[in-house]
């Protein structure tokens, strides 16, 4: 069963890349050159792999965020905004609170998660209490969060770092920094936290009663209600947890990669999380793979851009194509049957 799922996913990815090749050919680009640079940028050397992992790290969290909500039948597309709220909170706690080393980091992480959870709570509550579609509300609140955090670090605002022109905070205290893991790359301990959260999420969903109930609500709210489960409570819980994990993504970036909050720091990690969750077929362990894939695409696209072989954004196109093929269960099956004739 698991093997077949993996096989289907790999097939989807191949098909997507195939269509991508057609697009490249239509644009007159050299397909070998593009793929060579894609590979080089993602896996070519230690620095490249480091770049892949660095890009993948926040995507692990945002993919989990989408996944948790999805397992409860909800569409959280506001991970980007929840991440920003988490990031801002991590920065504030990292700058103004004085605590010894590891403790400071933990407190920052928890605070960031809590901020993300609060931002996820709003659409969760509205859905549970008033039946408001969470798809629209998470999207709206995401934009609000991005503008809001930008405002907080704008010139003349309290958190703004006056030494620079751009909208950002000062550096967090050294005790709050997530140290680098693999010199000379930029990979930080955030990826370890990510791996840990993957395991926690897996354990929660498949080995605990609360997770069982959450999944039941996602698969059949009517049967869940029959089973004595409070559907409303689970919806709110799922959205809070999704927000929490997305908040951690922001903390990872602030405490690890940038060591400060920079407005607009995310090139769309929240959106990659949606792709990552879908490609992983909503399996927590699959997220490690899909986040890694997304990270590789991002890292590779930078090299493609540098080399001039094609616009680096071909990677985004590939990402979109992969999702399209992954989400169509009967398409793949039909193609296999057609091939067999």
């Amino acid at each position: 069963m698991l093997l077949r799922e993996t096989g289907l996913t790999l097939l989807s990815i191949s098909l997507a890349f195939g269509v991508g090749c057609i697009i490249l050919w239509a644009g007159g680009y050299s397909i070998p050159a593009v793929f060579a640079n894609l590979w080089k940028g993602a896996f070519g050397n230690k620095i490249s792999i480091g770049q892949t992992l660095t890009q993948a790290t926040p995507i692990i969290f945002t993919s989990l965020s989408f996944l948790i909500a999805f397992r409860c039948g909800l569409f959280n597309i506001g991970a980007e905004g929840q991440m920003y709220m988490g990031a801002m909170t991590a920065a504030v706690v990292g700058i103004y609170l004085k605590l010894p080393g590891v403790l400071h980091v933990l407190v920052c992480l928890l605070a960031a998660g809590a901020a993300g959870a609060a931002w996820g709570w709003i659409p969760g509550y509205l859905k549970a209490k008033r039946g408001v579609n969470e798809f629209v509300t998470t999207m709206m609140l995401s934009s609000v969060a991005i503008y809001f955090t930008d405002l907080l670090v704008a010139p003349r605002m309290f958190l703004h770092d006056t030494r620079y022109g751009s909208n950002q905070t000062v550096r967090v205290l050294q005790t709050a920094v997530l140290p680098k893991l693999l010199r000379p790359t930029q990979v930080t301990w955030a990826i370890v936290v990510g791996g840990g959260v993957v395991l926690l999420v897996w354990y929660y969903l498949f080995r605990t009663r609360s997770g069982y109930e959450l999944r039941a609500v996602g698969q059949s709210p009517s049967a869940a209600e029959y089973g004595g489960i409070s559907v409303k409570r689970k919806i709110v819980l799922a959205m809070c947890m999704a927000g929490f994990v997305a908040g951690l993504a922001g903390a990872g970036e602030v405490l690890g990669t940038h060591t400060r909050f920079i407005s607009g720091f995310s090139p769309g990690y929240g959106w990659d999380g949606i792709a990552g969750g879908l490609i992983a077929r909503a399996h927590p362990v699959g997220v490690l793979f899909s986040a890694f894939l997304m990270g590789a695409l991002r890292a590779g696209s930078m090299q493609v851009q540098r080399s001039g072989a094609a616009p680096g954004d071909i990677a985004s196109v590939l990402q979109g194509l992969v999702i399209f093929f992954v989400i169509a269960p009967t398409l793949i099956r039909r193609l296999i049957r057609w091939r067999r004739r």
Partner: protein, 283 residues
Amino acid sequence: MNIFTIHLLLRTLRLSSPIALIALGETYSERVGIINVGVEGTAVLGALVSALVSFYTGNAWVAVIAAVIGGGLAGALHALWCIQFRANHVVSGVAVNILVAGLALFITSALWKSRGTSASAPTINAWYIAGSALVIVILSQIFIFHTRWGLRLRVVGEKPEAADTAGINVHRTQYIYTIVNGMLCGLAGAYFFNNLGYFVNGMVGGRGFIGIAAMVIGNYSPVGALGAALLFGFADALQMSLQGYIPSQVSLMLPYLLTVLVLAVLIKRAQVPAALGKHYIKQ
């Protein structure tokens, strides 16, 4: 009457029109049971195609038509995925959004060497599109509730089995109106381009999703969608007027905050088509 107010009114009417078009399009597709959250991406596609075609042909009218066709194709793709391959409707719509976002970056980089921005191209007066939106909404209201095709499409979304046994082709109906949805979104995208004069990443800025919210608040009717769109258009217009008086981030936030508030307060669980989101399997 001071200029500020007239300006605001006119701007409201203009800015409502793309939202109204998208909300109307989504009304059509959800009335036949297909959820399409890819309306955001479809509008972006429409804007992109407008810019592209206008740039290369120099004819902005042809560009509008191309945008409509492009939107229709996106709608067809989504319909194909949902109906033929039984993808989850929301997930497929999300995929459309992501794919179009990537394509926009890629194409602008490839053709104009600047990530996410196109060169300027000839435009038509955006009021033409705004005006046509009003006409289309009124015609749609009559179409959906007072013609036989409207009756049939409503039945498909409420109870496809009943439509099937009455001899109506459920899947074909779903394809048609999802494509119509795409075309209307493409037209909305054309509005965005003609309003600005070039394509830039983020020009649609979530208005696709606001359109969906408008459809829900408008209770799945064209006229309702228009009313809700006017509300959101007003917020958009207001936000522009307030720039300079308050920090730009605050005014930019307003339309989004307003959407959440309006949904939270005004949501009624009334008229959702009963078979929305379900895959109809005929024997």
